[in-house]
Symmetry: C2
Subunit: 191 residues, 2 copies
């Protein structure tokens, strides 16, 4: 029962955000009685937090390939995959709702944000050590570009084009990683 409820919770939140998130809809769509939901979780915030942490992990897809291009491609695939589905929608809802309701969602936002930040910092530091990037490369710029391009691409995709986009993921991945790599390296010559 818990798994079914959690999946519906994240889906409803992805579709509507916090202001439209109701236990009534969760109970109806999961087929679990409202009384059971109220018995098990104290309130809708606690339920949402538990469901998000259960269903969605921060980005940890760093593959340690020893090659920055391959690491970035793995990251780009993860990001595009996530943002073309309900998971990315739920995360974007969370960013926005954490601005409107900081007291409710700052912790959950930080959980996803800092998880991804740590991964990208380690990726960049290793690439600098290998001489693939100049000293002082800003991880925030890498994170912003990779997640940013994916969010925009997805946000503006006409409905129903998800499958087409999924089929062309590798094309998007290559183009994005080429641009980011060239942009980050500037005139830097890899050792």
């Amino acid at each position: 029962m818990e798994a079914r409820v959690y999946s519906v919770v994240v889906l409803v939140f992805a579709e509507k955000g916090w202001a439209g998130f109701t236990l009534d809809e969760v109970a109806r769509r999961s087929g679990v009685g409202k009384a059971s939901v109220y018995l098990r979780w104290r309130d809708k915030r606690e339920l949402l937090l538990a469901a998000m942490r259960d269903r969605l992990e921060p980005f940890q897809g760093w593959t340690h390939t020893g090659d920055l291009r391959e690491d970035l491609k793995a990251m780009a695939r993860y990001v595009f995959g996530m943002y073309w589905g309900w998971a990315g929608l739920a995360i974007m809802r969370l960013w926005l709702d954490a601005r409107t309701y900081p007291d409710l969602f700052a912790d959950l936002r930080d959980f996803y944000l800092f998880g991804s930040v740590r991964t990208v910092e380690a990726m960049i530091a290793a690439a600098v050590d290998r001489g693939e990037l100049p000293e002082g490369t800003a991880p925030a710029l890498v994170l912003g570009t990779m997640f940013g391009v994916a969010t925009v691409q997805v946000s503006v995709a006409p409905p129903g084009q998800g499958e087409d986009l999924t089929a062309r993921t590798e094309e998007y991945v290559d183009r994005l990683v080429d641009m980011v790599l060239t942009g980050l390296r500037g005139g830097h010559q890899p050792r």
Copy 2:
């Protein structure tokens, strides 16, 4: 009265999205009676559409400086300025709600999307003509990077840091434009 209602409408939508958007809250926060609101606008969708178009224009900040770096800096300033306030929040809510409710919001989304796309296409085409960029440069990548980095930066900014971010806008603008320009040019030598 119209101006006051429109401002509140966009603010409430920015904070809560469509699922949490109610005429009750608009009436209360604008100090305009509900009866008057219902008399003037047929329903809440019509009111939201009118308010968004009245308060928010698509990106048209292309300054025709004849220099791609300056054009991009103008664009970056516009984007950061917008996303650090309610305007950017409202636009991000719109992207998400247009995925959940395509029938309601596809037109409004296209209005903002294609307005910005046309501006960036013209900017890139002019830069290619001047020899500043290689043939075939994808406007979508420019749009995605500029808006994407700004959205991520803003989405993950801790509450209350808006002022600090605003003070450092030029630093963000320079770093972003440097990366985008280098990335787009690749090995291309400006004529």
